[in-house]
């Protein structure tokens, strides 16, 4: 028997400051090839567990054909302070939408 079983394997991340296992964000690809969508998050000590937990929590009723799990810490998110500079300038520039172009006859509009 190995004597070093008390040493954590390299794959096991340390628990976070709140005492919980590390958090992972879960993205599911719905059937028929639709784009991945954020489904929620799970706690897990490594990627394989995160994948299994994501499957068990979010994909057990046939919701997905593919799963991504990403360490939450790997995600860089915009902040509430970014809302103004990031998104407001788009509000008064409707010409950035393509509705101003007339659709040639013969092109099916979806």
């Amino acid at each position: 028997m190995a004597d070093d079983h008390s040493a954590a394997p390299a794959s096991v991340a340390t628990t976070s400051r709140d005492g919980q296992w590390p958090l992972w964000e879960v993205f599911l690809q719905p059937p028929r090839g639709a784009p991945f969508e954020h489904a929620g998050s799970v706690h897990a000590v490594d990627a394989e567990s995160a994948l299994q937990n994501a499957r068990d929590v979010y994909a057990r009723r046939g919701e997905a054909v593919n799963i991504w799990v990403v360490p939450t810490t790997a995600i860089t998110a915009s902040t509430p302070e970014d809302v103004g500079p990031f998104f407001d300038p788009g509000n008064d520039k409707p010409y950035r939408h393509p509705q101003f172009y007339s659709v040639p006859r013969g092109v099916r509009v979806y």
Partner: protein, 271 residues
């Protein structure tokens, strides 16, 4: 009992060998397969609301539902093959412990989390290799159930195997608990591969795989995971048996009392 797929009751059963010996052997075999899953599924369901973390709580309940679903299909087929007016529900809820045919391994109380995952791993690996053979059965209803169960079982092996490695190769306490679970469970594993006249009658007819070919494959995979978990396979010794002939531990009767109380108190209750 939940019905994940169409019940086989009422459909003609294509028992390839129609002689009564083969038919009654097939009923016994289906009861063994179905009871193993019903009892283990119930034991797992006892974790519902008590799992170590939310995600694992749901995972255990998922596996429990898979097993109870497999049991529903197998016991319905047993009832239809027996052709004595009993369906899967009657077999599940109206038999006494002495009529149950599950191995002793699955009826032991759920123990701690290490005990639960080690048992699940030992059982699921055996189930996987056995189902692989049954999926090629000449009895097409049985082969269909096995093919469905095989996919579920593959995940059970993966999930439980990961936990065995994590707990065995984890902290001092998780290592000690996992080794202790393995030591306590090992003597109950031999019964999964025990064969008798029931198996002989069905193996000869091409209905089920020979369990003696399952055991070495089981041992190879179990040994691999146990070693990666830095655990030690217990020394070969006396193997417990009795479940296949209805001689159970005292734990099964208590479990069935809880599982069956609704049907026993309100016969035929529906909701």
């Amino acid at each position: 009992m939940p019905r994940p797929a169409a019940s086989s009751v009422g459909r003609p059963i294509a028992v390839t060998a129609s002689d009564s010996t083969t038919r009654s052997a097939l009923v016994q075999f289906l009861l063994r397969l179905g009871d193993d899953r019903l009892v283990l599924g119930h034991r797992l369901s006892e974790w519902c609301g008590h799992g170590p973390i939310l995600e694992e709580d749901i995972a255990l309940a998922n596996i429990a539902l898979d097993l109870v679903g497999q049991a529903a299909l197998l016991l319905d087929l047993a009832g239809a093959t027996e052709d004595a007016g009993r369906d899967g529900d009657a077999l599940a809820y109206l038999r006494e412990a002495i009529d149950y045919r599950n191995v002793l391994l699955v009826e032991l109380p759920k123990g701690d989390f290490a005990f639960t995952v080690v048992r699940q791993f030992l059982f699921s690996v055996a189930a996987y290799y056995q189902l692989e053979g049954i999926a090629r059965s000449t009895q097409t209803d049985l082969a269909g159930i096995a093919a469905k169960a095989l996919k579920e079982t593959r995940y059970h092996v993966r999930h439980a195997g990961e936990w065995v490695i994590k707990l065995g190769d984890g902290t001092d306490e998780s290592h000690a608990r996992t080794q202790s679970a393995l030591d306590g469970l090992w003597r109950y594993t031999g019964e999964m591969f025990q064969t008798d006249a029931v198996d002989a009658a069905l193996v000869g007819a091409g209905l089920v795989p020979d369990l003696t070919t399952v055991e070495p494959r089981w041992l190879a995979q179990v040994t691999d995971v146990i070693e990666r978990a830095t655990l030690t396979i217990p020394a070969a010794g006396y193997m417990q048996r009795g479940g296949r002939s209805g001689r159970h531990t005292e734990h099964l009767g208590i479990m069935l009392a809880e599982m069956q109380i609704l049907q026993r108190s309100y016969p035929g209750a529906k909701w």
